[in-house]
Amino acid sequence: MGAGHGHRLHFHGHSVVHRAPAHLKILALLAFVLVVVATPRDWYAAYAVHLAILLGVVAASRVPLGYLLPRMVIEVPFLLFAALIPFIAEGPQVAVALPGGWELSVSEPGLLAAWGLAAKGTLGVLASLTLAATTEPDAVLRGLQRLRMPELLVQIMAFMVRYLDVVTADLGRMLTAMRSRGADPRSPRHWPALARTLGALFVRSYERGERVHLAMLSRGYDGRLPDVEGAR
């Protein structure tokens, strides 16, 4: 399996965490996230314990934090939203001293809500990234299958994993073609063209889906992906 050829989120290794069965890792992640979400926001010590456990697992997996942290940028929109809450929430105000003698008045429940959102979000994202870094996408899917996830959903996810790169490459080529004809996809002036490109990408992907389905039918597909685990 994937000798240095795994998915972008995957970090190749042979640690205990890498070797653990995927379905157990998925269950552990689910349990961890549920516990974190259920922890009241003001049990600060509990969050320290959660973080310690998580960092323990990361250390055991020998995935460097320097690999995981940059991939956490996906969380930034949530953090921005969390940062806004103290300024827009109602309730008793509390003054926060700023350097230079200034004082900032923010909502106290808002501050607590922001802390909760940021802490729970960060723990959840870091835990999920750890799963992704230690488990091949294929293994995650097989784990879900063992956990009796409905077959159709597993199939849909499998195709998403398989075709993500193909569709991304399609989009990359279309954007290059746009740039080659003097349009900058980033400039708002060219957003209408970008929107049409995305529409075309959707149609292309839809048509590809139909061709893939034809190819599957041609090889005897009957609505159920065969278990090809025997072939290894």
């Binding site: 041609s218 065969p226 025997g230 072939a231």
Partner: protein, 256 residues
């Protein structure tokens, strides 16, 4: 001898009313390698999709009959028909949809009910035939285009078809990959129907050619005779690449 493919009066119109085929008769006998030539829009793809029952008189407005080694293509026989007719589509990314080369090649035979060691052997045999055995555990999207095309051929060979149908096998291949694929196709002991615009490739691999134009078969004969019939070629928008002249090729290097 029962022909592998036996098409009689196959006509087909798409639901939007566009008529693609107007009564096609075609026979392909065991062991033959036949090229299906024709300009864009001639109905080649529509014809190919009739061969394994994706399209049929039952699914649209059509007529005629298709038999594969004597077995009529009907809903009842679809599973067996799709085992007998292996279609390799033009874009390997459409054909390779599983997580690894091995799982992809196993998909067809597993649908036929093979399991365990028998399945494993079928998979590795097919990969050997196209020279891709060492890539069995790689994800398909990490292979080069030429390698993916070869794996696509293996996915179909693994079903041990009676006829291999290839849609534009040489498209988008670099000359070396194109030649390697030709070597592989020549080495296979299977009947081949090859849809192509690559006329030198047809001449190199297929002793016989069928020309489809406007939904009808307009020529059926030795590839050399078809390609050197200037009037026929002009009438059906077939053109040889610049500088290529079939007459300049030594007769004993032609297949057949």
């Amino acid at each position: 001898m029962t022909p592998v493919l036996d098409l009689q009066g196959v006509a087909f119109a798409y639901p939007d009313g566009h008529q693609a085929l107007f009564g096609v008769d075609l026979h392909v006998h065991p062991g033959e390698r036949v090229a299906l030539l024709g300009p864009n829009g001639a109905g080649k793809t529509t014809l190919v999709l009739h061969l394994n029952g994706i399209l049929s008189a039952e699914s649209g407005h059509g007529a005629g009959s298709v038999r594969v080694s004597g077995l009529p293509v009907t809903k009842k026989n679809l599973a067996e028909i799709r085992r007998r007719v292996g279609i390799v589509f033009q874009d390997p990314d459409d054909q390779l949809f599983m997580g690894s080369v091995r799982a992809d090649v196993a998909f067809g035979p597993a649908n036929l009910g093979l399991r365990g060691a028998a399945l494993d052997k079928r998979v590795m045999d097919a990969l050997e035939q196209v020279g891709m055995a060492e890539f069995a555990d790689r994800p398909p999207h990490h292979l080069s285009f030429g390698q993916r095309r070869r794996v696509a051929v293996a996915t179909v060979l693994a079903m041990e078809p009676e006829i291999l149908v290839l849609d534009e096998p040489s498209s988008n291949l670099d000359p070396a990959s194109r030649r390697e694929l030709a070597d592989i196709l020549r080495s296979l002991d299977v009947t081949v129907l090859m849809v192509t615009h690559d006329l030198p490739y047809a001449l190199e691999l297929c002793p016989r050619s069928v020309v489809l134009s406007g939904g009808r078969v307009v020529a059926d004969g030795r590839t050399y005779d078809v390609l050197t019939d200037d009037e026929l070629m002009r009438a059906h928008r077939l053109e040889l690449p610049w500088g290529f002249d079939p007459r300049s090729i030594p007769v004993d290097s032609l297949p057949g």
